[in-house]
């Protein structure tokens, strides 16, 4: 008999302070990573302060550890925020479905991330970068409110090193600094300026609901992406992650079990309840 709510203890190997209120935490269980697929999520907690749901943000192919990124905002995250390297964090997972990478093989890929929504994108993106030869051209568009809100700044150069891979970073108007060399503009606006075509391409989009809404529109209407070729991940409020607690359902879909990864086509068939 197994208690499905019982977490495992993972050790914090490294904490990367991404922005003033965002951290990436690198974990190991029994000295190594865990088996998961890009797009899946886990339940993380510092016991006594409650669980929180975060997408796993590292590439599943990098077996020696796994990562997640979070923003310090409430009770559970303040608990996790207080932990140091070497401390233990409680983890359940991985849960949920994942990006169907077989469909993406050989195609051009567009990754669009906004703010902390870059975390799940990073997982699938690094997964593809790790197997760079299997895919066509890769375009990464990442935007945040301001320069100070950009995550993963320390690994931008690493992403750019791969062949035929372009990284475009943008910040919202007003969020730029005097030495900012990237783009300025909202993600959907910048997206429309890129020379992208829907043929033989797959777009992966994650960010705040408003960004997703407009980015999907740009991809479909301006660039001719097929709805089935746009993939996004929903970030509904969750508690159990196991399809029991009833919090995340949208239509007859439990986001924690049937999601969080959906194509724009699938989203279209769901009621507007997310």
């Amino acid at each position: 008999m197994e208690n499905i709510y019982l977490p495992k203890l993972a050790e914090i190997k490294e904490i990367i302070q991404e922005t003033a209120d965002t951290k990436t935490i690198r974990l190991t269980i029994d000295g190594g990573g865990i088996d998961f697929l890009p797009g899946q999520f886990g339940e993380f907690s510092f016991m006594g302060e409650g669980e929180s749901t975060f997408g796993l943000s590292s590439s599943p192919l990098r077996k020696e550890f796994f990562e997640f990124s979070f923003r310090y905002s409430g009770r559970a995250t303040s608990g996790i925020n207080s932990l140091n390297q070497g401390d233990k964090i409680a983890f359940r997972g991985p849960y949920g479905n994942y990006f169907d990478t077989s469909k993406m093989k050989g195609k051009n890929l567009v990754f669009v991330g906004g703010g902390i929504g870059m975390a799940p994108v990073k997982s699938i993106m690094e997964y593809c970068l790790d197997q760079r030869d299997d895919y066509g051209k890769i375009t990464i568009l990442y935007g945040a409110r301001s320069v100070n809100d950009l995550l993963y700044k320390n690994i931008f150069d690493e992403w750019k090193k791969y062949k035929d891979t372009e990284l475009i970073v943008t910040v919202d108007p007003g969020g730029e600094t005097s030495d900012w060399t990237g783009k300025v503009g909202f993600v959907p606006t910048i997206l429309e300026q890129l020379p992208l075509k829907g043929e033989n391409s797959i777009a992966i989009v994650c960010g705040p609901p408003i960004m997703i809404k407009f980015a999907l529109k740009s991809l479909e209407e301006k660039m001719g992406f097929d709805k089935a070729d746009i993939i996004t991940t929903l970030e509904n409020r969750m508690k159990c992650g196991l399809g029991k607690c009833g919090r995340c359902n949208v239509g007859s879909v439990y986001v924690c079990k049937d999601g969080p990864v959906f194509t724009a086509k699938e989203l279209e068939s769901l009621p507007n309840d997310f």
Partner: protein, 301 residues
Amino acid sequence: MANTKTDEKLQKIAKDLLESGEVSLIIGYTKGSNSQRMRPLFVTRTEDADKLSFSPNAVQDLAVFLKKAEVKKFGKIGIVVKGCDEKAVNALIQEYQISRDNIKIIGVECNGVIRQNIADKGETNVSESTVYDKCLICEEHIPVLYDFLVESEEPKLVLSGKVKPYSEIARLESMSSEEKNAFWANEFDKCIKCYACRQACPLCYCSRCIVEKNTPQWIDTNSEETGNAQWNLIRAYHLSGRCIGCGECERACPVNIPLMLINEKMAIDVYNMFGYKSGLDINAKPVFGVFSENDFNDFIK
């Protein structure tokens, strides 16, 4: 069922208000799911005003809807209120939750409402043994403030004095702390933390309740003895000196916790200590918004 004179008067007032554009919504009562129940009705079109009605089964305090964002959107609102409910409207005005200018108060004279659980079993008689305790101590059968008044056709409530309202309060006061504690522990043990008491209360209007705040977690989330006692204590405290005694919390409670024993006790004590009764005067300052240099000081060293 045919319209009573009260119903006709209500409908006329509502129609006039809607037609003249003085209000865009009337909140009133209409016949409910059985002959012994009334339910809230939201009238925006004059033709629906014919459904308005009133009876001794109109137990709900409609002032509770004034705190809802969806209802506030309507702007100018007319509301049908009994004397007790009207005090809630006053308290909301006093606490700047609604503006007197945006509200048309349609007061109905009320001679007591029948307790819902016995009405459901078929009780139709309005008497001192069938109405709520709040009706027995009611001093506002005619609302203290109104724009329109609909007089009652019901006979006045006859009080023989045999039924003692809230008699449990005196019994509780005479108990030792251990006995009181045991009494409330037993009551709170039933609590399932559905927060219906909060939702049904016209004066619990915080956009984020203290139980929903978790940094720090003031009230334990469990619905066992600890969490339940904390919740019920803080709920009662936040309503002390504010509760107008409509009894909606107790009526909504699915596990029958006698919440009015707490609210009423606090209302009595606040009156004794500070001479203040809630909801009687829209120009009065709320009791905890002011102070007197001569306030009760005996408990402080």
